[in-house]
Symmetry: C2
């Protein structure tokens, strides 16, 4: 019977390996070595590298702090707090490694359909959470109604991804908070 | 003496290979095979895969149509025309392959310093061109002066990258033009 702790260790360490090596560059050996488990144990726990990657995406989204979005202050300030927290998370991990969802999205067909589906669902649920706050802001007259909450939520997420990508290549991240502010300008009534 | 036509063929076909396979996934054999040249000829023309990739980045930026930016109409409309043209270019190539600069940026340290420098320079010169149009719009009172032209230009490019990335993973691209419009809302006075 597969050991639970081996599985947990694989999940716990896989994010770092995928971020550093990319999906294609992360070998089963890299993943088992980072977790400190025997190489042969991998397939006792996962059918494939795709399987593990899809689970990592789920873990990544589960760890997003959505609580600022559901507070009681002005919607734009709640959105700002949430987005700044994402920037802090990326910075804490190392700006040079970018966002895991962005990385997998960028790997295109190489990551396989299971991971792509997982990333799509992750982005959709994230956009839903942001969209709910935008709707509250629209109802309160704080956010423009010329655009749908869905479109504005996707816009904010896309800007965050693009800015994270530039931070990754430019090896600078001081501009990120200002860029979030510019994006929020687009929500003005 | 290395044949010029072999070199040209490698450059001509490399973009497609890098887009499809990613940097890490593109082997020398993939590159020579796509170009229809002998595998052994590669190193007569390029020191490394990095060398070729850096040249492809330069070609990619040289092929950007900057002419809409330097027209005489309202600055925001010139920016829109330029950004829409980029979307059309990505769409013509296949939305699922994303933007070459974004792909390389997202490969992080894996692509090597030469390619990273090339991408940084490419993004900087692109942002400069966009920034010049924004400055004209600011001088004409059409674009907000609460933000610097440099910051607004980077914001527009980042949004384009992020939106392209979402189009890539979602396999949809009809939202791109609307998203450019939302971004341009942020430039309003």
């Amino acid at each position: 019977m597969p050991q639970v702790s081996v599985r947990n260790r694989l999940v716990e360490h896989a994010e770092a390996v995928f971020r550093r090596n990319g999906f294609s560059g992360a070998s089963i050996q890299d993943l088992t070595q980072a977790a400190g488990v025997p190489k042969g144990s991998f397939y006792n726990h996962f059918e494939s590298k795709q399987d593990l990657a899809a689970e990592i995406v789920t873990c990544y989204v589960r760890a997003i702090d959505f609580s600022p979005l559901t507070g009681s202050g002005p919607a734009v300030e709640r959105l700002r707090e949430h987005l700044i927290a994402q920037i802090e998370r990326i910075r804490a991990y190392g700006t040079e490694f970018g966002c895991l969802l962005g990385s997998f999205a960028n790997d295109g067909a190489l990551v396989g359909e299971k991971v792509r589906t997982s990333v799509r669902e992750a982005l959709a649920s994230w956009a839903d959470a942001i969209g709910a706050t935008i709707e509250e802001g629209q109802a309160a007259g704080e956010i423009t109604t010329r655009r749908s909450a869905t479109a504005l939520a996707a816009f904010l997420l896309d800007l965050l991804q693009g800015a994270t990508l530039r931070a990754r290549i430019s090896e600078a991240d001081t501009f990120l908070a200002d860029e979030v502010s510019i994006a929020l300008d687009a929500l003005r009534v």
